[in-house]
Amino acid sequence: MNWLTNVVRPKIRSFLRREVPENLWVKCPETGQMVFHKDLEANQFVIPGSNYHMRMGAATRLKSLFDGGVFEEIALPEVAVDPLKFRDERRYTDRLKDARTKTGMQDAIKVGYGTLDELPVVATVQDFDFMGGSLGMAAGEALIRGFETAVEKATPFILFASSGGARMQEGILSLMQMPRTTVGVEMLKDAGLPYIVVLTNPTTGGVTASYAMLGDIHIAEPGALIGFAGPRVIEQTIREKLPDGFQRAEYLREHGMVDMVVHRHDMRATLSRLARIMTKAPAATNAHDIPASPLPVPAEQPPAMAGFTP
């Protein structure tokens, strides 16, 4: 960092950040392979060689789902800020400020309403870049608003989960988001609307132990870490090394916790198909005519999932 980047105000820095990726190379966390950012973006943030699914930001994810990348962003309720006046090594309010600057988001969740192959759906995305996608009061209210929107509009509800769990800086009030978001799930259930959960890397803690494991259908992205307790906590508790692939998407599929592991390139088509079948809507006839986003999806098929090692 030179003196100039040091003096620009945080807001401007985030603006610059957004411009930079054009020239960036991204390293595959698994193989170390270097990928040009633009190529990665064009490939829906899946590393072309290794098939490693990189994290996807909330806005990008919503764009990749809805027809033409167009959706209505649902306004989210404001919540009390830092009710505990929490401070660990740093003030919680400072951490929040940083996360807002870094992501340009108010909190960890975005809710969109739009069409998927012309079928109206509500989709909610957790952004791991915002304080680990943690579930606090704002995220809880956002989810509840998401569920309510689906009920109002009588649409399926699709969740892209990604979170380290509860936001500890909000203490008990973050824990209370577990039953609160579950009330949201119950409202959707009462309305007879399908709830499809897409578990992405990573989804753990209080998030899996509430709304993210209560879907009608659970889909996981390849290699995603999904579990209740984090691997480190388990290792410390049992003092044993964890088996290979433990808590990965494929492991959960094997143990009956998810219905399917779906490559990101097939995600949109899978969600569209399921949303239609579950709402008894006719099959999409024009699915191919409506690209998800302005970005082209590579034509070649991804390698068989069986060969994928997380």
Partner: protein, 318 residues
């Protein structure tokens, strides 16, 4: 033998002296210790009161975990007649970390379940220190659904450091089991009352604590993560557990202010372990009062009250 917590040392010393004097008095040396005994007893009581009137959150955590604190089984055997324990989740196995069954409370049919930590080394191992596995939560779900079907109210007694983090627990879907249990609480058309007896540890607690009325013992703690866990994650320093306990606002007195719990059950001076029978009786009365306040609600209203109560949490904070 009473065991003392670190911060109770001044009381421990005084009470040890009292014991010595009592032993003398009983002897045939003819020593008159009445005055001295009285003086010491007054001082011990005053010291205890001074300590307990102003417990720090970290001290409360220690009281909540006191090995002699009455546990779930003690409450069940004192409050419920004809208690008949049930076992198993009908899928994988039984889990003694959550005990539960049916019996009578105040003469009426009741479903009661809760975390049991165990009071002896042997019992602690049998009950896995109150840390439940998926089958424990699935047994809770089974019992709650049965209670709902037969129109029998549910009492849940919460006392856990958290759900068990282990390979088998993950394999069998710990997260899903907890989530389903919370959802089941929300679906009940019968009233349920939860009491945080000692430790209300995160998701493992909320799974059975999503109730129409949530009561909490005076020195119990309820939090999203243990103070030690928060210290290690947020401070990267396990010795900061005291700071974490203070910052996280885990005491009954904090939580009633946040609207997270509905009422506090007072404990005897010096904590529940100094008078288990009195504590249990007071808890029983508080539970009766809680059910009474819900008695006029029909099934739909019971469900609505529970949902609205949880949705309201946090919405009216400054």
């Amino acid at each position: 033998m009473r065991s003392y917590l670190d911060f109770e040392k001044p009381v421990a010393e005084l009470e040890a002296k009292i014991e010595e004097l009592r032993a003398l008095e009983g002897g045939d040396a003819g020593v008159s210790v009445g005055d001295e005994l009285h003086r010491l007893e007054t001082r011990a009581a005053q010291t205890l009161q001074d300590l307990y009137e102003d417990l720090t959150p970290w001290q409360k955590t220690q009281v909540a975990r006191h090995p002699q604190r009455p546990h779930c089984i003690d409450y069940v055997s004192a409050l419920v007649t004809e208690f008949t324990p049930f076992a198993g989740d009908r899928a994988f196995g039984d889990d003694d970390a959550i005990i539960g069954g049916f019996g009578r409370f105040g003469g009426e049919s009741i479903c009661i379940l809760g975390h049991e930590k165990g009071s002896t080394t042997e019992a602690r191992i049998k009950h896995n220190f109150g840390m439940a596995k998926p089958e424990g939560y699935r047994k809770a779900v089974r019992l709650m659904r049965m209670a709902d079907r037969f129109g029998i109210p549910v009492i849940s007694l919460v006392d856990t450091a958290g759900a068990y983090p282990g390979i088998g627990a993950e394999e069998r879907g710990q997260a899903e089991a907890i989530a389903r249990s919370t959802a089941t609480c929300l679906e009940l058309g019968v009233p349920n009352v939860a009491v945080i007896l000692g430790e209300g540890g995160s998701g493992g607690a909320i799974a059975i604590a999503t109730a129409n009325r949530v009561l909490m013992l005076e020195h119990a703690v309820y939090s999203v993560i243990s103070p030690e866990g928060a210290a290690s994650i947020l401070w990267r320093d396990t010795t900061k557990a005291q700071d974490a306990a203070t910052n996280m606002k885990i005491t009954a007195q904090d939580l009633i202010r946040f609207g997270v719990i509905d009422s506090i059950v007072p404990e005897p001076m010096g904590g529940a372990h100094r008078d288990p029978a009195g504590t249990i009786a007071a808890t029983g009365e508080a539970i009766t009062a809680a059910f009474k306040a819900l008695a006029h609600l029909d099934r739909d209203a019971i469900r609505r009250q529970r949902r609205e109560k949880f949705l309201a949490i946090g919405r009216t904070l400054g």
